[in-house]
């Protein structure tokens, strides 16, 4: 009666058999095998096509069901700091300007034309005639004035992320409504990204000024607020919110935008968000048609693509997505003011600040394996701090570090890093064995897998690496606060089309200048160069000149590698076939023109 042993042995058997089936079955299907490098998507061609797209007249009605991982925590675009909030408020509120979904450049929205003074300091915006709030009140320049002066610049409203964006070196922008359809902005100095940040959501004065006076605006527009209290100009309005389950938007019949025939957009009746915290459930729900749209991971691609011909959805591969992961070392050369103890051990600091050391590490990272293992072959190496999907300012011509262990070893040897005593670990010129701790945050599966590969790659150079995962919050604390107790970290940042939004990272005085934050003056010549690029770039109004500056910034970063970039995942989007007017593009994805999308 050795039932147990029987089960054990039979499961081994079964495995061998399934192993058989996997091997045989797959090789019998005559599907061409491909060399992964040749199957990259021509996203530039896609982009060209997307820019020429003209939407057709659609049919009214129907809904689209989307899924979201994060539950909305607030519907207040001014006070909320969660990125999840803007996913939802983007349908309800609009700004004077909007960012074009394909080109990622600012274009007219509520404001249809504007004038700029010769010195670039005074902007006068004309407001479109036919814009109404969702409660039928007319939109006017006084609403803009209210949003800036009474909401954004109001010190009593906290937290307030917009205030930090619109405070330029401590100074405010003077916002004044000249009449009901003209509003004037006076800047303290020239600010190149100004138009872009005017995608700032505008809120109605008539509805919220009373709340501001009472002091209750900060807690309004939350998840408990009844939807009819949320008044905006956007294409959709909030219909209902069921906590952790559904967020439902309905069509705003008073939306100002029309299609080429003069019909009021949007075409869809509803947008339904279903909250799915687990990615497995999300995938399964999409395949069963309970959800209409999916952002897929590389490892899900085979299952989706295989069933595509017999199903009612389509899979789009769009090129390299954003979502960087980079490795960086602690180059902080300062010491604790009280104990005088340097933050980073001086021996290790000498390695980390040695550019050739970092370049050798860059050559040692096997990006192809990262793409194959972590992204199932659907990914791209990253060399520049900007991603191709971030648009105009991306510089594709920077220094690259293709995987080459021998070259990495040579560079290290030339810098005096040799294994003198045959123990398998290299030592520096002073005879110190090279070892350091390497950390990343737990909870991000992709990042942890990439970190594992990096660890092994660096160890193959003869360097000892102590790897750990830490809770995200703890990690940030280490980076932000003395005594800056870390040596090497793998982390990621979200980027954006506007390079200046990363100023806190790239300027030496920045709080997010992670390898050595809040410097009083640049520690190295190349950091000084980047500082002057950032100082000049924000004030330079000529876009072509800005491009030259920021191209140079990306070139410097790829040469000095303070952040060693790794790989970017492929942007894989899937959508049900029943929708028309889809315009897939790398920069915008599939839903950037949601007001034009209709059910066929």
């Amino acid at each position: 009666m050795n039932k147990v042993l029987l089960i054990f042995i039979s499961s081994l058997f079964i495995l061998q058999i399934t192993g058989c089936n996997n091997g045989k079955g797959n090789s019998q299907k005559a599907i061409a095998s491909i060399d992964s490098s040749s199957a990259k998507v021509d996203y530039l061609a896609l982009q060209e096509k997307a820019m020429k797209f003209v939407p057709e007249t659609g049919k009214f009605g129907g809904q689209i069901v989307l899924s979201t991982v994060s539950d909305p925590k607030s519907f207040n675009p001014i006070t909320s700091t969660e990125t999840s909030t803007s996913e939802f408020t983007q349908y309800m509120y609009e700004g004077l300007i909007r960012i074009n979904g394909v080109t990622l450049m600012p274009e007219a929205n509520i404001s249809d034309k504007w004038e700029v003074s010769g010195d670039g300091l005074i902007f006068t915006f004309h407001i479109r005639d036919n814009v109404l709030w969702s409660d039928s009140t007319r939109f006017s320049a006084y609403d803009v004035e209210f949003t800036f002066n009474d909401l954004i610049y109001n010190k009593a409203i906290t937290p307030n992320s917009s205030r930090d964006i619109f405070t330029m070196e401590g100074k405010k922008i003077a916002v004044k409504a000249l009449d009901s359809s003209h509003v004037e902005f006076r800047l303290p100095f020239t600010y190149a990204p100004f138009l872009r940040v005017l995608s700032q959501e505008i809120l109605p004065k008539h509805k919220y000024s009373a709340l501001v006076k009472k002091g209750s605006f900060s807690t309004s527009l939350g998840i408990q607020t009844p939807p009819d209290q949320m008044v905006g100009t956007g294409p959709f309005m909030l219909e209902s919110y069921i906590s952790s389950q559904k967020v439902i938007f309905k069509r705003n019949p008073l939306y100002w935008k029309t299609d080429s025939q003069g019909n009021k957009l949007p075409y869809l009746d509803k947008i339904v968000y279903t909250v799915v915290t687990d990615q497995n459930a999300e995938l399964l729900q999409f395949k069963r048609g309970e959800v209409d749209y999916l952002t897929a991971k590389g490892e899900d691609f085979p299952g989706l693509k295989k069933d595509e011909p017999t199903s009612n959805y389509s899979v789009f591969r769009l090129g390299p997505a954003s979502g960087s992961n980079f490795l960086f070392f602690n180059m902080n050369n300062r010491a604790d003011p009280k104990s005088k103890k340097p933050y980073v051990d001086s021996i290790k600091l000498s390695w980390f600040t040695n550019t050739k050391f970092r370049q050798a590490i860059a050559y040692a990272l096997d990006k192809d394996n990262m793409i194959n293992i972590v992204m199932n072959g659907l990914g791209y190496p990253q060399w520049s701090p900007m991603a191709p999907s971030e648009g105009y300012f991306f510089n594709s011509k920077v220094t690259e570090y293709p995987y080459n262990i021998e070259k990495a070893k040579q560079i290290l040897a030339a810098e005096g890093f040799i294994d003198t005593n045959g123990d398998g670990i290299i030592e520096d010129k002073g005879g110190n064995p090279v070892e350091f701790s390497f950390v990343t945050n737990s909870g991000n599966n992709t990042r942890v897998k990439i970190a594992e590969i990096i660890r092994k790659d660096i160890e193959s150079l003869g360097i000892k690496v102590h790897f750990q995962q830490i809770e995200f919050n703890s990690l940030i604390q280490k980076i932000d606060h003395p005594p800056y107790e870390w040596e090497a970290i793998l982390l990621g940042l979200t980027g954006g089309p506007e390079p200046h939004s990363g100023r806190n990272v790239w300027h030496s005085s920045g709080t997010l200048h992670m390898w050595s934050p809040v410097q009083t003056s640049a520690a190295t010549p190349w950091e000084a160069s980047i500082d002057s690029i950032y100082d000049a770039g924000v004030k330079e109004l000529d876009t072509l000149k800005r491009k030259v500056l920021y191209d140079r910034w990306q070139q410097i970063v790829s040469d000095e590698v303070p952040l060693i970039y790794t790989v970017l995942p492929e942007k894989i989007l899937c959508i049900a076939n029943k929708f028309g007017n889809l315009n897939p593009s790398l920069n915008g994805g599939l839903l950037h023109n949601l007001e034009y999308i209709y059910v066929k």
Binding site: M1, N2, K3, V4, L5, I7, F8, S11, L12, L15, Q16, T18, G19, C20, N22, G23, N26, S27, K29, I31, A32, S33, I34, D35, S36, A39, Q279, N280, L283, L284, G298, E299, D300, F301, P302, G303, K305, K306, D366, N369, N372, I373, V374, N376, G377, L378, V439, S442, G443, V448, K449, E452, I453, K456, F467, Q468, Q469, I470, E471, S474
Partner: protein, 358 residues
């Protein structure tokens, strides 16, 4: 020990139909885990990234039409097809034979004794071809080897944890039951605190108190401490109940009269009477520890990569895509199942054997 004197109990125990399979399974698993470095063909961190997710190696006996007594495998490589599915191809040109006591990775048995021979494997130091009994994980490491190394954590957590729990339980339950009155009331109310919150919640809360960036050894000890803290209260309460009734018996009064100290009475006279219940209870609670550790590691708060534990091996695999394309990654779950079932079998056997009612 009292129950050893009773031959009938021992006979009953071994005659229970489920006890033998349970014991054999556990012996097998614990032996493997003690000699993990020897039994596992590869080091737990040794992987060939070029063949990630390789399905279990097919073992052949016929090469080019010729039968061979010694089993062998071929080396695999993979490519992506147009759907980005992985296609694995065997290189049938060269067979790599399997044998026993092969030379493999240089490892240290119990971190002390350097060995290079392993129980079985492929006789090829270049490791161009690998034997993947249960397939490969995403970075090409042998799942079988990792499960064997992982058994060390998962199986020992139960034993050590239960040891601590029983000490705590005996002590507190013994004192509480013996002294009675206010001491008893206080101790029992204190123990109830730990039973008031559902175990998973308490486990999470206690775990969150400690940094996640502590070394694997420290995490391991921490898990044991947390699991023991959650488990001791129930055990203590029952011991207390038993001590309460035993303490009223004559031989205890006699011992007191003879001048024995309280501690001596509790430890030497009373507690041994509770041993038969204790052994059953302990054996049946070990599965809880194994499952508790696997839950913690599964959600990423326990043992972390590259160290292996059955829980964290499963945690990596929890993906519908994985089950569809690489089902062998679920093997650690089978091992959890087997060890937990084995403990349950033995515990039931013990209970039936020691039950005074039969």
């Amino acid at each position: 020990m009292i129950f050893f004197k009773d031959n009938r109990a021992v006979q009953k125990f071994f005659h229970h139909p489920l006890v033998m399979p349970g014991l054999i399974t556990l012996c097998f698993l614990y032996t493997c885990s003690i000699f993990a470095e020897f039994v596992a063909p590869y080091n737990y961190d040794n992987g060939n990234r070029e063949i990630s997710y390789q399905p279990p190696s097919k073992i052949h006996f016929i090469h080019n039409g010729k039968f061979s007594l010694q089993p062998f495998v071929y080396s695999y490589s993979f490519k992506f097809n147009s759907n980005y599915e992985r296609i694995y191809i065997e290189d049938k040109s060269r067979p790599y034979s399997l044998s026993l006591f092969t030379k493999g990775d240089k490892v240290k048995l119990w971190h002390i004794i350097p060995i290079q021979r392993h129980l079985f494997g492929i006789n090829d130091s270049s490791q161009k071809c690998r034997l993947y009994l249960f397939g490969a994980d995403p970075v090409g490491r042998d799942l079988f080897s990792r499960i064997i190394y992982g058994s060390r954590v998962s199986l020992s957590v139960g034993l050590i944890g239960v040891f601590i729990t029983s000490i705590l339980g005996f002590l507190i339950g013994g004192i509480s039951g013996y002294y009675g009155g206010k001491t008893d009331w206080l101790l029992m109310r204190f123990s109830e605190c730990f039973m008031l919150v559902p175990s998973f919640f308490l486990m999470l809360a206690l775990r969150s108190a400690f940094p996640i960036d502590i070394s694997s050894t420290e995490v391991y000890l921490l898990i044991i401490v947390i699991l023991s803290l959650i488990g001791w209260a129930g055990f203590a309460r029952v011991i207390r109940g038993m001590v309460l009734s035993i303490g009223k018996r004559d031989f205890v009064t006699a011992a007191k009269a003879l001048g024995a100290t309280d501690l001596r009475i509790i430890i030497i006279h009373i507690l041994p009477q509770t041993v038969s219940y204790a052994i059953v209870s302990i054996t049946l609670s070990i599965p809880g520890y194994i499952l508790g550790e696997s839950m913690l590691s599964f959600i990423g708060l326990g043992i972390q990569d590259p160290q292996a534990s059955w829980g964290n091996l499963l945690g990596v695999a929890m993906n519908v895509a994985d089950i569809q394309y690489h089902p062998w990654i679920l093997m650690p779950g089978v091992f959890i199942l087997l060890s937990v079932m084995a403990f349950n079998f033995i515990g039931d056997g013990l209970r039936d054997a020691l039950d005074p009612n039969r």
